[in-house]
Amino acid sequence: MLLIQCPYCGPRPELEFAYGGQAHIARPLKPADLNDDEWAAFLYMRVNTKGVHAERWRHARGCNRFFNALRDTTTDHFLAVYKTGEARPALNTAGGHS
């Protein structure tokens, strides 16, 4: 089970969280202007990164807030957590596995 750092509550077991998938997919501001390919990209296409993945988590059985995390999908190590609305943090690639 993963140990996940909620930016509001601290480290908690994975069972308290819900996974929210790829982060930073903004809902289109003018939906009517999108063509079918753009809709498909928004709804269905996912980066599915092997490596550092920016993703959403929700502390569903805790403070119930969404936040974002960077996790290495080849090790499942969390590299950073940050609040919704904040930019994806730059990683110091020389280490930083927590």
């Binding site: 089970m1 996974y19 498909a40 709804l43 996912r46 993945h53 996790r71 999908t73 499942d76």
Partner: protein
């Protein structure tokens, strides 16, 4: 190819078993091929076999980064069934079940297909409605599936606990008698041996690391850890790694890769006659011919490429197994493991051409593609050979997500199997 028969086994046994030869050659990459399959799982090896057998393409290779059958083919719980809801799915999965029925004879390799019956349990009103809808839809498509009361379900599977006071009581079940299991490794090995005999090179420990395209953007070569190999046709069957491989060619897909886990118990005498699945409480179980109980869990919540998941997923499944089959409560589990499954938004596969000419993809089988191995490989080979889909896989395109023609099998494939 040395053919297997009772006679050959006795004859070679009497002469010290020294005349057996390896079942396929250890091939090294040639400079070029007419077609290359990426991924030596059952789907990739099967596609190579059908390309050679049915389409006369024998100057081809299967490229596998590890060892053949080491991916999900060798990690799954081997449940085979075709009771999916929609017409498109019924055609695809039933094509596969029909190929399973004589696969051992066709390949001259015992894949141990055992149509012992697959029973899916209903635990609430919603389950009953969904499963009955499947029974009727399947029968309209000529796919066998029948509704059983709880008592009939227990008759079919005596270890089943149908007492009304368990947490999720069994209210009935849908039974597909033609469903069952097969031996996972044997499927990979059987296809490898038969493809090799037709001239296909099976190249292990060789990872595809890039694609080279010509001036028109069509495939002209693949880069691998064992050098550049020229080819104009590449079929990718890389399961959980498909996004990575197609990403090398600049193609993005509606896929997410999740860990899916399974576990086996210590071996015991034959005690469990069929396959039982419960989508609602996330458990499925059968007994292998070695005697182990083979138990599958649900996917982990997050995407990953680690081929392992959280232990709590397995314990959750074992809670359900112990409740449904109290006689297994004191059994010991021997091993657990994970595979990485590539899941589409509509839980149906993609078997199609890609936007890159000469590049074809067979993916999105998620938690349930073992059952489809022969059928999927068969129509994928057709698609690669003719540069157009077979009528059976024509609906399973990438463009369906753009055009809104989803094949939503979330109910049939809700949990792993």
């Amino acid at each position: 190819m040395q053919r297997f028969s009772a006679f050959s086994i006795i004859r070679r046994g009497l002469t010290g078993n020294e005349s057996w030869r390896p079942q396929w050659r250890r091939a090294s990459p040639k400079a070029s091929y007419d077609a290359i399959i990426v991924g030596g799982g059952g789907h990739g090896l099967g596609a190579a076999y059908y390309l050679a057998k049915e389409h006369g393409l024998t100057n081809i290779a299967v490229i596998e980064k590890g060892w053949i059958g080491g991916g999900n083919t060798g990690r799954n719980t081997t449940i085979i069934r075709s009771n999916y809801l929609f017409d498109e799915s019924a055609a695809l999965y039933d094509h596969s079940v029909k190929l399973w029925e004589d696969l051992s004879q066709v390949l001259n390799y015992n894949v141990m297909f055992s149509p012992r019956g697959v029973m899916m349990l209903a635990h609430n009103v919603h389950d009953i409605q969904v499963l009955k809808r499947h029974v009727h839809a399947n029968r309209c498509n000529g796919v066998d599936n029948e509704w059983l009361s709880a008592e009939q379900a227990k008759e079919f599977c005596p270890p089943l606990n149908i007492s009304p006071d368990i947490r999720y009581p069994v209210l009935g079940a849908a039974l597909q008698r033609r469903g069952g299991t097969a031996r996972h490794d044997a499927v990979a090995w059987g296809y490898a041996r038969a493809a090799d005999a037709l001239g296909v090179d099976i190249i292990e420990n060789c990872e595809v690391t890039g694609f080279q395209k010509d001036a028109h953007g069509a495939i002209e070569a693949v880069q691998t850890t064992r050098g550049l190999i020229r080819t104009k046709k590449v079929g990718v069957s890389a399961a959980g790694n498909t996004s990575v491989v197609l990403g090398l060619a600049g193609v993005s897909l509606p896929l997410e890769s999740f860990p899916l886990q399974a576990l086996v118990s210590e071996p015991i005498k034959p005690a469990f006659p069929c396959v039982v699945m419960s989508n609602t409480i996330h458990a499925y179980i059968s007994q292998s011919d070695k005697g182990e109980l083979v138990i599958g869990a649900g996917t982990d919540a997050y995407t990953s490429y680690t081929q392992r998941g959280g232990l709590h997923i397995n314990t959750h499944t074992l809670d359900a197994i112990c409740e449904l089959f109290p006689m297994f409560r004191r059994m010991q589990m021997l091993r657990n493991w994970g595979g990485i499954v590539d899941v589409t938004p509509d839980r149906s596969p993609i078997i199609a051409k890609t936007p890159v000419p000469g590049l074809y993809v067979n993916c999105g089988w998620g938690t349930g593609g073992f059952k489809a191995t022969p059928g999927s490989a068969n129509v994928f080979a057709w698609t690669i050979a003719r540069d157009e889909p077979h009528p059976i896989n024509a609906p399973f395109t990438i463009e369906r997500f753009r055009d809104g023609f989803l094949i939503d099998e979330a109910a049939a494939a809700a949990v792993a199997h």
